[in-house]
Protein backbone atom coordinates (compact mmCIF):
# COMPACT_ATOMS: atom_id res chain seq x y z
CA UNK A 1 0.00 0.00 0.00
CA UNK A 2 1.44 3.34 -0.99
CA UNK A 3 1.59 6.14 1.52
CA UNK A 4 -1.29 7.98 -0.13
CA UNK A 5 -3.46 4.92 0.43
CA UNK A 6 -2.26 4.65 4.00
CA UNK A 7 -3.34 8.19 4.58
CA UNK A 8 -6.76 7.56 3.09
CA UNK A 9 -7.23 4.50 5.19
CA UNK A 10 -6.26 6.34 8.38
CA UNK A 11 -8.77 9.08 7.58
CA UNK A 12 -11.46 6.54 6.78
CA UNK A 13 -10.92 4.83 10.10
CA UNK A 14 -11.32 8.07 11.96
CA UNK A 15 -14.43 8.95 9.96
CA UNK A 16 -15.93 5.60 10.85
CA UNK A 17 -15.16 6.11 14.55
CA UNK A 18 -16.73 9.57 14.43
CA UNK A 19 -19.79 8.19 12.67
CA UNK A 20 -20.27 5.61 15.41
CA UNK A 21 -19.95 8.22 18.12
CA UNK A 22 -22.37 10.58 16.41
CA UNK A 23 -24.85 7.74 16.08
CA UNK A 24 -24.55 6.93 19.78
CA UNK A 25 -24.94 10.60 20.55
CA UNK A 26 -28.24 10.63 18.71
CA UNK A 27 -29.78 7.60 20.37
CA UNK A 28 -28.79 4.49 22.28
CA UNK A 29 -27.55 1.68 20.10
CA UNK A 30 -29.62 -1.46 19.92
CA UNK A 31 -28.17 -4.94 20.51
CA UNK A 32 -27.20 -5.54 16.90
CA UNK A 33 -25.54 -2.14 16.59
CA UNK A 34 -23.58 -2.58 19.79
CA UNK A 35 -22.35 -5.95 18.59
CA UNK A 36 -21.33 -4.40 15.28
CA UNK A 37 -19.41 -1.64 17.04
CA UNK A 38 -17.60 -4.12 19.29
CA UNK A 39 -16.74 -6.21 16.25
CA UNK A 40 -15.43 -3.19 14.39
CA UNK A 41 -13.30 -2.13 17.38
CA UNK A 42 -11.87 -5.61 17.83
CA UNK A 43 -10.98 -5.93 14.17
CA UNK A 44 -7.96 -3.70 14.34
CA UNK A 45 -6.13 -1.81 17.09
CA UNK A 46 -6.30 1.26 14.87
CA UNK A 47 -10.07 1.20 15.10
CA UNK A 48 -9.99 0.96 18.84
CA UNK A 49 -7.50 3.77 19.41
CA UNK A 50 -9.30 6.05 16.95
CA UNK A 51 -12.49 5.46 18.86
CA UNK A 52 -10.90 5.96 22.28
CA UNK A 53 -9.40 9.24 21.17
CA UNK A 54 -12.60 10.69 19.74
CA UNK A 55 -14.69 9.38 22.59
CA UNK A 56 -12.35 11.00 25.12
CA UNK A 57 -12.55 14.34 23.32
CA UNK A 58 -16.35 14.28 23.01
CA UNK A 59 -16.74 13.37 26.67
CA UNK A 60 -14.59 16.27 27.74
CA UNK A 61 -16.85 18.68 25.93
CA UNK A 62 -19.60 17.85 28.41
CA UNK A 63 -18.03 20.47 30.63
CA UNK A 64 -19.29 23.11 28.23
CA UNK A 65 -22.67 22.68 29.89
CA UNK A 66 -21.32 24.90 32.67
CA UNK A 67 -21.76 27.76 30.20
CA UNK A 68 -25.48 27.27 29.86
CA UNK A 69 -27.36 30.46 30.59
CA UNK A 70 -30.48 29.79 32.62
CA UNK A 71 -33.78 31.52 31.82
CA UNK A 72 -35.33 34.09 34.11
CA UNK A 73 -38.95 34.38 35.19
CA UNK A 74 -39.99 35.67 31.79
CA UNK A 75 -38.13 32.86 30.05
CA UNK A 76 -35.41 35.19 28.85
CA UNK A 77 -31.74 34.41 29.21
CA UNK A 78 -30.35 35.74 32.48
CA UNK A 79 -27.91 38.54 31.76
CA UNK A 80 -24.50 37.28 32.66
CA UNK A 81 -22.22 39.56 34.57
CA UNK A 82 -19.32 38.08 32.71
CA UNK A 83 -17.39 34.90 33.18
CA UNK A 84 -15.48 35.54 36.36
CA UNK A 85 -12.83 33.41 37.91
CA UNK A 86 -10.67 35.02 40.54
CA UNK A 87 -7.67 32.96 41.51
CA UNK A 88 -5.96 33.25 44.81
CA UNK A 89 -3.06 31.38 46.28
CA UNK A 90 -3.57 29.64 49.59
CA UNK A 91 -2.91 32.13 52.34
CA UNK A 92 -4.64 32.01 55.67
CA UNK A 93 -5.26 28.32 55.03
CA UNK A 94 -1.91 27.80 56.67
CA UNK A 95 -3.31 29.16 59.91
CA UNK A 96 -6.11 26.65 60.08
CA UNK A 97 -3.71 23.81 59.32
CA UNK A 98 -1.38 25.01 62.07
CA UNK A 99 -4.31 25.01 64.48
CA UNK A 100 -5.08 21.38 63.73
CA UNK A 101 -1.46 20.27 63.93
CA UNK A 102 -0.94 21.97 67.29
CA UNK A 103 -3.97 20.19 68.61
CA UNK A 104 -2.61 16.84 67.42
CA UNK A 105 0.72 17.43 69.15
CA UNK A 106 -1.00 18.23 72.43
CA UNK A 107 -3.27 15.23 72.31
CA UNK A 108 -0.57 12.80 71.31
CA UNK A 109 1.82 14.08 73.95
CA UNK A 110 4.28 15.69 71.59
CA UNK A 111 4.43 12.66 69.34
CA UNK A 112 3.09 13.66 65.94
CA UNK A 113 0.20 11.41 65.10
CA UNK A 114 -2.46 11.58 62.40
CA UNK A 115 -5.38 13.41 63.94
CA UNK A 116 -8.58 11.60 63.17
CA UNK A 117 -11.38 14.08 63.09
CA UNK A 118 -14.63 12.38 63.84
CA UNK A 119 -17.83 13.92 62.58
CA UNK A 120 -21.29 13.34 63.94
CA UNK A 121 -23.37 11.82 61.12
CA UNK A 122 -26.84 13.04 60.19
CA UNK A 123 -29.01 11.65 57.43
CA UNK A 124 -32.32 12.30 55.74
CA UNK A 125 -34.39 9.81 53.84
CA UNK A 126 -35.76 10.25 50.36
CA UNK A 127 -38.17 13.18 50.55
CA UNK A 128 -36.84 14.19 53.93
CA UNK A 129 -35.48 17.52 55.14
CA UNK A 130 -33.72 18.46 58.35
CA UNK A 131 -32.44 21.66 59.93
CA UNK A 132 -29.44 21.40 62.22
CA UNK A 133 -28.38 24.34 64.36
CA UNK A 134 -24.68 24.17 65.23
CA UNK A 135 -22.87 25.18 68.40
CA UNK A 136 -21.15 28.13 66.71
CA UNK A 137 -24.43 29.70 65.63
CA UNK A 138 -24.27 28.29 62.10
CA UNK A 139 -27.07 26.28 60.58
CA UNK A 140 -27.06 23.34 58.18
CA UNK A 141 -30.19 22.35 56.25
CA UNK A 142 -30.24 18.89 54.73
CA UNK A 143 -32.17 18.16 51.56
CA UNK A 144 -33.57 14.82 50.38
CA UNK A 145 -31.55 11.61 50.67
CA UNK A 146 -28.57 13.31 52.24
CA UNK A 147 -25.82 12.30 54.60
CA UNK A 148 -23.41 14.68 56.27
CA UNK A 149 -20.92 14.43 59.09
CA UNK A 150 -20.38 17.43 61.32
CA UNK A 151 -17.33 18.33 63.42
CA UNK A 152 -17.78 21.88 64.65
CA UNK A 153 -16.23 23.28 67.80
CA UNK A 154 -14.10 26.19 69.02
CA UNK A 155 -10.95 24.92 67.30
CA UNK A 156 -12.17 23.89 63.89
CA UNK A 157 -15.32 23.72 61.81
CA UNK A 158 -15.63 20.90 59.25
CA UNK A 159 -18.60 19.25 57.59
CA UNK A 160 -18.38 16.36 55.17
CA UNK A 161 -21.09 15.96 52.53
CA UNK A 162 -21.09 12.24 51.86
CA UNK A 163 -24.23 12.20 49.81
CA UNK A 164 -26.98 14.56 48.67
CA UNK A 165 -27.29 18.28 49.24
CA UNK A 166 -27.03 20.71 52.15
CA UNK A 167 -27.47 24.44 52.59
CA UNK A 168 -25.14 26.27 54.94
CA UNK A 169 -25.68 29.50 56.88
CA UNK A 170 -22.29 30.02 58.42
CA UNK A 171 -21.81 32.30 61.40
CA UNK A 172 -18.83 34.61 60.78
CA UNK A 173 -15.60 33.70 62.54
CA UNK A 174 -12.42 34.85 60.86
CA UNK A 175 -10.28 32.85 63.25
CA UNK A 176 -12.02 29.61 62.54
CA UNK A 177 -12.75 29.07 58.85
CA UNK A 178 -15.63 26.75 58.03
CA UNK A 179 -14.76 23.89 55.67
CA UNK A 180 -17.14 21.73 53.71
CA UNK A 181 -15.53 18.63 52.23
CA UNK A 182 -17.14 16.87 49.31
CA UNK A 183 -16.23 15.05 46.08
CA UNK A 184 -13.29 16.64 44.34
CA UNK A 185 -12.12 19.01 47.06
CA UNK A 186 -13.43 21.37 49.67
CA UNK A 187 -15.12 24.71 50.14
CA UNK A 188 -13.82 27.24 52.61
CA UNK A 189 -15.74 30.20 54.05
CA UNK A 190 -15.47 32.70 56.81
CA UNK A 191 -19.17 33.50 57.14
CA UNK A 192 -21.73 33.25 54.38
CA UNK A 193 -24.64 31.29 52.85
CA UNK A 194 -24.30 28.66 50.13
CA UNK A 195 -25.35 25.15 49.15
CA UNK A 196 -23.22 22.13 48.40
CA UNK A 197 -24.56 19.26 46.38
CA UNK A 198 -22.62 16.09 45.83
CA UNK A 199 -23.37 14.12 42.65
CA UNK A 200 -21.05 11.12 42.62
CA UNK A 201 -17.61 12.49 41.66
CA UNK A 202 -18.77 16.09 41.25
CA UNK A 203 -19.72 18.78 43.70
CA UNK A 204 -21.91 21.75 42.81
CA UNK A 205 -21.69 24.87 44.97
CA UNK A 206 -24.29 27.65 44.68
CA UNK A 207 -23.51 30.87 46.52
CA UNK A 208 -26.43 32.72 48.01
CA UNK A 209 -24.58 35.34 49.99
CA UNK A 210 -21.05 36.38 50.81
CA UNK A 211 -17.86 34.90 49.45
CA UNK A 212 -16.75 31.30 49.19
CA UNK A 213 -13.45 29.73 48.21
CA UNK A 214 -13.57 26.48 46.29
CA UNK A 215 -10.44 24.37 46.53
CA UNK A 216 -10.32 21.44 44.11
CA UNK A 217 -8.14 18.55 45.15
CA UNK A 218 -4.86 18.40 43.29
CA UNK A 219 -4.87 22.07 42.37
CA UNK A 220 -2.99 24.80 44.20
CA UNK A 221 -5.24 27.58 43.03
CA UNK A 222 -8.63 28.31 44.53
CA UNK A 223 -11.72 29.66 42.84
CA UNK A 224 -13.37 32.58 44.61
CA UNK A 225 -17.15 32.76 44.23
CA UNK A 226 -19.79 35.30 45.26
CA UNK A 227 -23.55 35.68 45.41
CA UNK A 228 -25.11 34.35 42.24
CA UNK A 229 -22.13 32.21 41.29
CA UNK A 230 -22.15 28.49 40.77
CA UNK A 231 -19.00 26.39 40.88
CA UNK A 232 -18.76 22.80 39.68
CA UNK A 233 -15.85 21.05 41.33
CA UNK A 234 -14.19 17.74 40.51
CA UNK A 235 -10.80 16.42 41.38
CA UNK A 236 -8.40 18.70 39.55
CA UNK A 237 -10.92 21.25 38.35
CA UNK A 238 -13.36 23.93 39.37
CA UNK A 239 -15.49 25.86 36.87
CA UNK A 240 -17.37 28.99 37.77
CA UNK A 241 -20.42 30.41 36.05
CA UNK A 242 -22.38 33.44 37.15
CA UNK A 243 -26.06 32.49 37.28
CA UNK A 244 -27.26 35.59 39.06
CA UNK A 245 -28.79 35.95 42.51
CA UNK A 246 -32.33 35.09 41.43
CA UNK A 247 -31.29 31.96 39.56
CA UNK A 248 -29.36 30.70 42.58
CA UNK A 249 -32.36 31.36 44.79
CA UNK A 250 -34.45 29.30 42.37
CA UNK A 251 -31.98 26.44 42.75
CA UNK A 252 -32.56 26.66 46.49
CA UNK A 253 -36.36 26.53 46.32
CA UNK A 254 -36.13 23.05 47.87
CA UNK A 255 -35.65 24.81 51.18
CA UNK A 256 -39.31 25.77 50.91
CA UNK A 257 -40.18 22.29 49.68
CA UNK A 258 -40.54 23.40 46.05
CA UNK A 259 -39.00 22.41 42.74
CA UNK A 260 -38.64 25.12 40.13
CA UNK A 261 -38.16 24.52 36.43
CA UNK A 262 -38.01 26.89 33.52
CA UNK A 263 -38.43 25.02 30.27
CA UNK A 264 -36.58 21.87 31.25
CA UNK A 265 -37.12 18.56 29.44
CA UNK A 266 -39.51 16.20 31.19
CA UNK A 267 -36.71 13.67 31.65
CA UNK A 268 -34.84 16.21 33.77
CA UNK A 269 -37.95 17.21 35.71
CA UNK A 270 -38.65 13.55 36.44
CA UNK A 271 -35.09 13.11 37.71
CA UNK A 272 -35.68 16.08 39.96
CA UNK A 273 -38.85 14.62 41.44
CA UNK A 274 -37.28 11.20 41.83
CA UNK A 275 -34.74 12.62 44.24
CA UNK A 276 -37.56 13.49 46.61
CA UNK A 277 -39.95 10.58 46.23
CA UNK A 278 -39.77 6.84 46.67
CA UNK A 279 -42.54 6.52 44.10
CA UNK A 280 -40.55 7.12 40.93
CA UNK A 281 -41.59 8.74 37.69
CA UNK A 282 -40.63 6.62 34.69
CA UNK A 283 -40.80 8.45 31.39
CA UNK A 284 -41.26 6.26 28.35
CA UNK A 285 -40.54 7.35 24.84
CA UNK A 286 -38.00 9.80 23.51
CA UNK A 287 -40.68 12.26 22.36
CA UNK A 288 -42.26 12.40 25.80
CA UNK A 289 -38.90 12.73 27.51
CA UNK A 290 -38.11 15.82 25.47
CA UNK A 291 -41.32 17.71 26.30
CA UNK A 292 -40.55 21.08 27.86
CA UNK A 293 -41.92 21.73 31.33
CA UNK A 294 -41.98 24.93 33.35
CA UNK A 295 -43.39 25.77 36.74
CA UNK A 296 -43.05 25.51 40.48
CA UNK A 297 -44.07 22.22 42.07
CA UNK A 298 -44.38 20.81 45.52
CA UNK A 299 -41.48 18.36 45.64
CA UNK A 300 -43.32 15.70 47.59
CA UNK A 301 -46.46 15.75 45.48
CA UNK A 302 -45.48 13.65 42.50
CA UNK A 303 -48.99 12.29 42.02
CA UNK A 304 -50.41 15.74 41.49
CA UNK A 305 -47.62 16.49 39.01
CA UNK A 306 -48.41 13.31 37.10
CA UNK A 307 -52.10 14.26 36.97
CA UNK A 308 -51.15 17.64 35.63
CA UNK A 309 -49.16 15.93 32.88
CA UNK A 310 -52.19 13.89 31.99
CA UNK A 311 -54.48 16.90 31.80
CA UNK A 312 -52.19 19.45 30.26
CA UNK A 313 -50.33 17.30 27.75
CA UNK A 314 -52.76 14.46 27.29
CA UNK A 315 -50.16 11.93 28.32
CA UNK A 316 -50.94 8.44 29.53
CA UNK A 317 -50.22 7.99 33.22
CA UNK A 318 -50.28 4.56 34.84
CA UNK A 319 -49.33 3.41 38.28
CA UNK A 320 -47.64 0.00 38.17
CA UNK A 321 -45.64 -1.73 40.90
CA UNK A 322 -45.65 1.44 42.92
CA UNK A 323 -44.06 3.64 40.24
CA UNK A 324 -45.67 6.10 37.87
CA UNK A 325 -45.26 5.39 34.15
CA UNK A 326 -45.74 8.25 31.72
CA UNK A 327 -46.07 7.66 28.01
CA UNK A 328 -47.69 9.01 24.87
Amino acid sequence: MGQAENNHRAEAIEERAAAWLAKMDRADLNEAERAALEAWMSEDARHRVAWLRLHAAWSRTRRLSALKIPLDRKNRPVRRDGFRKAMRKAGPMGQAAAGVTACALLLAGGHFAQLQIWGQPHTTEVGGRMVLPLSDGSRVELNTDTRVRIAVNGLRRVVWVDRGEAFFSVAPDANNPFLVRSAGGHVRVVGTRFSVRRISERTVVNVSEGRVEVAPEGERDRVSARRGDRVVMMSGSADLVHLGGEAVDDELSWRQGRLLFRSAPLSQVAEGFNRYNTRKLRIQGEGVAQLRIGGAFEASNVISFASALQETYGLRVEIRDGDIFVSE
Binding site: D25, R46, R48, R63, L64
Partner: protein, 190 residues
Amino acid sequence: MDKVQRDAWFVREVLPLEAALTRFFERHWRSREDVFDLRQELYAKLYEAASRNGLPLNTKAFAFSAARNLMIDRVRRDQIISIEFVADLESIGTAVDVSASDRQATARLELGRLRSALATLPPRCREVVRLRRIEQLSQKEVAARMGITEDTVERQVGKGIRLLADQIFGRDEAASEKAGGSGRRRRGAS
Protein backbone atom coordinates in the same frame (compact mmCIF):
# COMPACT_ATOMS: atom_id res chain seq x y z
CA MET B 1 -5.11 -6.66 33.08
CA ASP B 2 -8.35 -6.05 31.29
CA LYS B 3 -9.50 -3.97 28.38
CA VAL B 4 -11.11 -1.35 30.58
CA GLN B 5 -7.83 -0.64 32.37
CA ARG B 6 -5.94 -0.55 29.12
CA ASP B 7 -8.42 1.87 27.57
CA ALA B 8 -8.18 4.06 30.66
CA TRP B 9 -4.39 4.02 30.50
CA PHE B 10 -4.49 5.02 26.85
CA VAL B 11 -6.74 8.02 27.50
CA ARG B 12 -4.97 9.06 30.66
CA GLU B 13 -1.33 8.68 29.63
CA VAL B 14 -0.97 8.43 25.87
CA LEU B 15 -3.42 11.03 24.56
CA PRO B 16 -1.89 13.90 26.57
CA LEU B 17 1.30 13.28 24.58
CA GLU B 18 -0.40 13.90 21.26
CA ALA B 19 0.78 17.46 20.72
CA ALA B 20 4.38 16.56 21.49
CA LEU B 21 4.29 13.37 19.43
CA THR B 22 2.79 15.22 16.49
CA ARG B 23 5.54 17.81 16.61
CA PHE B 24 8.08 15.00 16.86
CA PHE B 25 6.76 13.37 13.72
CA GLU B 26 6.50 16.65 11.88
CA ARG B 27 10.08 17.49 12.68
CA HIS B 28 11.54 14.18 11.56
CA TRP B 29 9.29 12.88 8.80
CA ARG B 30 9.60 13.99 5.24
CA SER B 31 5.93 14.68 4.61
CA ARG B 32 3.42 16.39 6.90
CA GLU B 33 0.50 14.72 5.21
CA ASP B 34 1.62 11.36 6.50
CA VAL B 35 1.75 12.38 10.13
CA PHE B 36 -1.87 11.54 10.85
CA ASP B 37 -1.38 7.99 9.61
CA LEU B 38 1.92 7.66 11.47
CA ARG B 39 0.31 8.76 14.68
CA GLN B 40 -2.64 6.41 14.31
CA GLU B 41 -0.27 3.53 13.69
CA LEU B 42 1.80 4.53 16.68
CA TYR B 43 -1.27 4.59 18.91
CA ALA B 44 -2.29 1.16 17.62
CA LYS B 45 1.20 -0.22 18.28
CA LEU B 46 1.30 1.25 21.79
CA TYR B 47 -2.10 -0.24 22.51
CA GLU B 48 -1.08 -3.65 21.21
CA ALA B 49 2.15 -3.56 23.18
CA ALA B 50 0.20 -2.80 26.33
CA SER B 51 -2.05 -5.75 25.51
CA ARG B 52 0.82 -8.15 25.13
CA ASN B 53 3.25 -6.93 27.76
CA GLY B 54 1.24 -4.89 30.23
CA LEU B 55 1.41 -1.15 30.84
CA PRO B 56 4.84 0.45 30.41
CA LEU B 57 6.58 1.95 33.42
CA ASN B 58 7.31 5.19 31.64
CA THR B 59 4.67 5.79 29.01
CA LYS B 60 6.26 8.93 27.64
CA ALA B 61 9.69 7.39 27.07
CA PHE B 62 8.09 4.31 25.61
CA ALA B 63 5.92 6.32 23.24
CA PHE B 64 8.75 8.42 21.86
CA SER B 65 11.00 5.45 21.47
CA ALA B 66 8.25 3.60 19.61
CA ALA B 67 7.64 6.68 17.45
CA ARG B 68 11.26 6.80 16.41
CA ASN B 69 11.35 3.06 15.63
CA LEU B 70 8.17 3.37 13.63
CA MET B 71 9.69 5.96 11.38
CA ILE B 72 12.85 3.92 10.91
CA ASP B 73 10.86 0.79 10.09
CA ARG B 74 8.78 2.63 7.56
CA VAL B 75 11.75 4.03 5.77
CA ARG B 76 13.27 0.56 5.56
CA ARG B 77 10.00 -1.04 4.46
CA ASP B 78 9.31 1.58 1.84
CA GLN B 79 12.79 1.02 0.61
CA ILE B 80 13.28 4.63 -0.03
CA ILE B 81 16.97 4.72 0.28
CA SER B 82 17.90 8.09 1.49
CA ILE B 83 20.99 7.49 3.48
CA GLU B 84 21.06 10.89 5.06
CA PHE B 85 17.47 10.52 6.14
CA VAL B 86 17.96 7.16 7.84
CA ALA B 87 21.15 8.27 9.54
CA ASP B 88 19.32 11.34 10.72
CA LEU B 89 16.51 9.28 12.24
CA GLU B 90 18.89 6.92 13.97
CA SER B 91 20.73 9.78 15.52
CA ILE B 92 17.60 10.82 17.42
CA GLY B 93 18.47 8.12 19.89
CA THR B 94 16.13 7.47 22.74
CA ALA B 95 16.21 11.00 24.07
CA VAL B 96 12.76 12.06 25.03
CA ASP B 97 11.35 15.17 23.46
CA VAL B 98 12.25 17.74 26.11
CA SER B 99 9.81 20.36 24.98
CA ALA B 100 6.83 18.12 25.67
CA SER B 101 4.81 19.56 28.52
CA ASP B 102 4.30 16.67 30.80
CA ARG B 103 2.08 17.95 33.53
CA GLN B 104 -1.62 17.30 33.37
CA ALA B 105 -3.58 20.04 31.66
CA THR B 106 -4.24 22.80 34.12
CA ALA B 107 -7.85 22.17 34.93
CA ARG B 108 -8.86 25.72 35.52
CA LEU B 109 -7.93 26.50 31.93
CA GLU B 110 -9.90 23.56 30.59
CA LEU B 111 -13.21 25.34 30.16
CA GLY B 112 -11.44 28.20 28.40
CA ARG B 113 -9.72 25.76 26.10
CA LEU B 114 -12.94 24.01 25.26
CA ARG B 115 -14.53 27.33 24.40
CA SER B 116 -11.62 28.21 22.13
CA ALA B 117 -11.85 24.81 20.49
CA LEU B 118 -15.54 25.37 19.89
CA ALA B 119 -14.79 28.72 18.31
CA THR B 120 -12.58 27.13 15.68
CA LEU B 121 -15.38 25.02 14.23
CA PRO B 122 -17.06 26.02 10.95
CA PRO B 123 -20.32 27.94 11.60
CA ARG B 124 -22.96 25.27 11.13
CA CYS B 125 -20.97 22.60 12.91
CA ARG B 126 -20.27 25.01 15.75
CA GLU B 127 -23.93 25.82 16.19
CA VAL B 128 -24.85 22.14 16.31
CA VAL B 129 -22.20 21.43 18.96
CA ARG B 130 -23.18 24.53 20.90
CA LEU B 131 -26.84 23.51 21.03
CA ARG B 132 -25.92 19.96 21.88
CA ARG B 133 -23.33 20.62 24.56
CA ILE B 134 -24.10 24.05 26.02
CA GLU B 135 -27.86 24.21 25.62
CA GLN B 136 -28.04 20.45 26.11
CA LEU B 137 -30.65 19.85 23.44
CA SER B 138 -31.05 16.38 21.96
CA GLN B 139 -30.02 15.87 18.34
CA LYS B 140 -33.69 15.82 17.47
CA GLU B 141 -34.26 19.18 19.16
CA VAL B 142 -31.22 20.64 17.46
CA ALA B 143 -32.66 19.61 14.10
CA ALA B 144 -35.96 21.27 14.91
CA ARG B 145 -34.30 24.41 16.22
CA MET B 146 -32.04 24.80 13.21
CA GLY B 147 -34.54 23.66 10.60
CA ILE B 148 -32.33 20.85 9.28
CA THR B 149 -32.75 17.09 9.18
CA GLU B 150 -31.72 14.83 12.03
CA ASP B 151 -29.34 13.03 9.70
CA THR B 152 -27.60 16.31 9.00
CA VAL B 153 -27.27 16.97 12.70
CA GLU B 154 -25.76 13.55 13.20
CA ARG B 155 -23.25 14.20 10.42
CA GLN B 156 -22.32 17.58 11.85
CA VAL B 157 -21.81 16.06 15.28
CA GLY B 158 -19.46 13.51 13.74
CA LYS B 159 -17.56 16.25 11.99
CA GLY B 160 -17.42 18.33 15.15
CA ILE B 161 -16.07 15.46 17.18
CA ARG B 162 -13.13 15.02 14.82
CA LEU B 163 -12.27 18.69 14.68
CA LEU B 164 -12.62 19.07 18.44
CA ALA B 165 -10.35 16.09 19.11
CA ASP B 166 -7.64 17.73 17.01
CA GLN B 167 -7.98 20.88 19.04
CA ILE B 168 -8.19 19.22 22.41
CA PHE B 169 -5.31 16.80 21.96
CA GLY B 170 -3.34 18.37 19.17
CA ARG B 171 -2.59 21.60 20.97
CA ASP B 172 -0.83 22.25 24.21
CA GLU B 173 -0.03 25.37 26.20
CA ALA B 174 3.25 26.02 24.46
CA ALA B 175 2.02 25.18 20.96
CA SER B 176 2.10 27.62 18.13
CA GLU B 177 -0.93 29.63 17.09
CA LYS B 178 -1.53 27.20 14.23
CA ALA B 179 -4.76 25.44 15.03
CA GLY B 180 -4.39 21.77 15.96
CA GLY B 181 -1.46 19.63 14.86
CA SER B 182 -3.55 17.10 13.00
CA GLY B 183 -0.76 16.46 10.58
CA ARG B 184 -3.01 16.23 7.59
CA ARG B 185 -4.63 18.44 5.01
CA ARG B 186 -7.72 20.13 6.34
CA ARG B 187 -10.91 19.76 4.34
CA GLY B 188 -12.91 22.71 3.13
CA ALA B 189 -15.73 24.45 4.97
CA SER B 190 -18.98 22.89 6.18
